[in-house]
């Protein structure tokens, strides 16, 4: 089995998740080669062949051009699978490569299961094992699911890749940085977060009151922020802040992977959810099965005493 691993760069820097690709290939027992559209100034530590295309020429991310580069490497290496991280880069590029190769794609693999790939369904309430039916397949792995065992090391053997034409229908304009204002949750020792389960904006102060009573900060899940109930600076998760408090209280939060990614390193996790099967229960130290609007005020009163 041979895997072509597609590394990832942002603003000239290699992303750490690139090393998860190698960890995944090792778990598969596959030989691997890598492709990066990146820069010689920051190469992956990797013992093996790395195809390098210059990001300055092909853009940090240009789907049309990156697709062509991946296809070129596929032609040279004839891999059994092409592996991406399931990130904004991977989920955008992988299906384009899959269509060009008429290959089946398995998205966001969380585990290996006797030769089949395991993926989540229905917000992690179910799992599926998926088997590719095409000889060659495209895979994306969930970020964090296949962590490297040690410090990455090695020196790549570089081989440069170039395209003859560089026309694309998509013009990259630039990046917009995250807003810097608002709360910094990364240093908070206690965070009490409001999820969609709090029901409405008027109920958010009830959650904030608990945060206050515990001497902590208010956090939030994404729908609460999208609905404008709480400012974006309070959002916890992949597209919000990554936090590691001593205590994290998730109020009416289901526990979607993108939220968990931001808070699972908390020392102690309490979830309040009316659904005993909510996926947050999988990582919570204590799951209180209750209506947030009944439990939280009662608990706040007790804390304040």
């Amino acid at each position: 089995m041979k895997a072509l691993l597609i590394g990832e760069y942002r603003q000239g820097k290699l992303l750490d998740t690139t090393y998860e690709l190698k960890a995944f290939a090792d778990r598969l027992g596959a030989d691997s080669v890598m492709l990066v559209v990146g820069s010689e100034a920051d190469l992956p530590k990797y013992d093996g062949k790395v195809y390098l295309a210059d990001a300055a020429t092909y853009g940090e991310y240009n789907p049309d051009l990156h697709k062509q580069l991946v296809l070129q490497a596929v032609e040279k290496e004839n891999p059994d699978c092409i592996v991406f991280v399931h990130s904004s880069y991977g989920w955008d590029l992988a299906p384009r490569v899959a269509v060009a190769l008429r290959a089946g794609q398995v998205s966001e693999i969380v585990a290996l299961n006797e030769g089949a790939y395991e993926v989540n369904a229905c917000n992690a309430k179910l799992r599926r094992t998926v088997t590719p039916k095409s000889g060659r397949c495209v895979l994306t792995i969930q970020a964090g699911a296949f962590s490297p065992s040690g410090e990455p090391q090695g020196t790549p053997q570089l081989e440069k890749l170039e395209l003859s034409g560089t026309a694309s229908a998509i013009e990259f304009v630039g990046y917009e940085a995250a807003e810097q204002k608002g709360v910094d949750l990364s240093k908070a020792e206690i965070i009490v977060s409001a999820g969609r389960g709090v029901g409405k904006k008027d109920n958010v102060p009830v959650i904030a009151a608990l945060a206050n009573a515990l001497g902590g900060e208010l956090g939030a899940s994404r729908p609460v922020v999208d609905a404008g109930w709480v400012d974006h600076s309070h959002q916890v998760g992949t597209t919000g802040q990554t936090v590691s408090p001593k205590l994290y209280v998730a109020c009416g939060i289901s526990g979607a992977i993108q939220h968990l990614a931001g808070m699972k390193r908390a020392d102690f996790i309490v979830a309040i959810n009316k659904d005993k099967d909510a996926p947050i229960g999988e990582i919570a130290d204590v799951l209180v099965v209750a209506d947030v609007m009944q439990f939280v005020p009662a608990f706040t009163a007790k804390c304040a005493r």
């Binding site: 299906p95 899959a98 094992t129 013009e171 630039g174 990046y175 515990l214 994404r222 799951l287």
Partner: protein
């Protein structure tokens, strides 16, 4: 301008899920279905663009699924879609993203849509493939995970959400396909008059047999509830008792309460 919006009907994610008889999907009995959340943003963006262009574009809504799918289609029409196509397929859940996308592309091929909106993924399957595959099959330029969209004279400017709060801004010429992320806009609730009006809008029916039939490229080998780690403590019962027990646990196990 001709706009297509692809939507899916999915179960409420707060439901309890169990595998169906042949373990290829979840059992649909007792589930309440609604429009895929990501697709609501897609419908809303299409309707906002129509409003911006003085009502000129025609918005077609397409969905694949069994009979109940009509409910989601009606909602999209009540939000502002003009007409709809229901690809009636009771075996939709056995089809992989490639087959689903091929059906949509096969329908869209002769229609020459200028702009196609889809959600970035479905809430039940979550493959995030269908939109991109449709674009590739139709040869459209494509951008995914939109949290910003604007249109000006045949060019769209999009904001893609990347990890860590960063956004990538790009320009695409029409024809194009975009996939929509949470927070792109605020999906409207259909008003009663619009719900009434939607009842008169056309919902054309198509069958999979009328569209290109592709063989699957991936198959579900099994579906099952995840193994419970079962580490955490579950507190059920009376609120007062739960409050006292949680208090006790926090005092014992953490340093945050004295």
């Amino acid at each position: 301008m001709k706009i297509l919006v692809c939507i899916k009907q999915v179960p409420d994610m707060e439901s309890r899920f169990r595998p169906n008889g042949d373990k290829t999907w979840y059992d649909e009995g007792d589930l309440a279905f609604r429009m895929n959340e990501y697709d609501e943003y897609a419908v809303e963006q299409a309707v906002q663009l129509k409003e911006q262009l003085g009502g000129e574009p025609e918005i077609t809504v397409v969905s694949i699924g069994p009979e109940r799918t009509v409910e989601a289609i009606k909602k999209a029409l009540a939000m502002g879609g003009d007409r709809a196509v229901h690809i009636r397929d009771d075996r939709y859940y056995q089809k992989d993203p490639w087959q689903i996308a091929s059906m949509i592309a096969s329908y869209a091929k002769g229609e020459n849509f200028d702009l196609i909106f889809t959600g970035m993924q479905s809430q039940d399957r979550g493959s995030a493939q269908v939109g991109v595959i449709v674009a590739e099959l139709l040869g459209l330029s494509c951008a995914t995970t939109l949290v910003g969209f604007s249109y000006d004279g045949g060019t769209i400017t999009v904001k893609r959400e990347l990890e860590g709060g960063i956004k990538g801004v790009a320009k695409l010429k029409l024809p194009a396909l975009v996939t929509c992320q949470l927070g792109l806009n605020t999906p409207r609730y259909p008003t009663l008059p619009n719900i009434m009006k939607a009842k008169k809008k056309e919902i054309a029916a198509l069958t999979p047999a009328e569209l290109s039939g592709e063989a699957e490229l991936t198959a579900t080998a099994a579906i099952y509830p995840p193994a419970k780690k079962g580490g955490g403590l579950v507190l059920e019962g009376e609120i007062g008792v739960q409050v006292d027990r949680l208090m006790g646990i926090l005092k014992e196990k953490t340093a945050v309460l004295r």
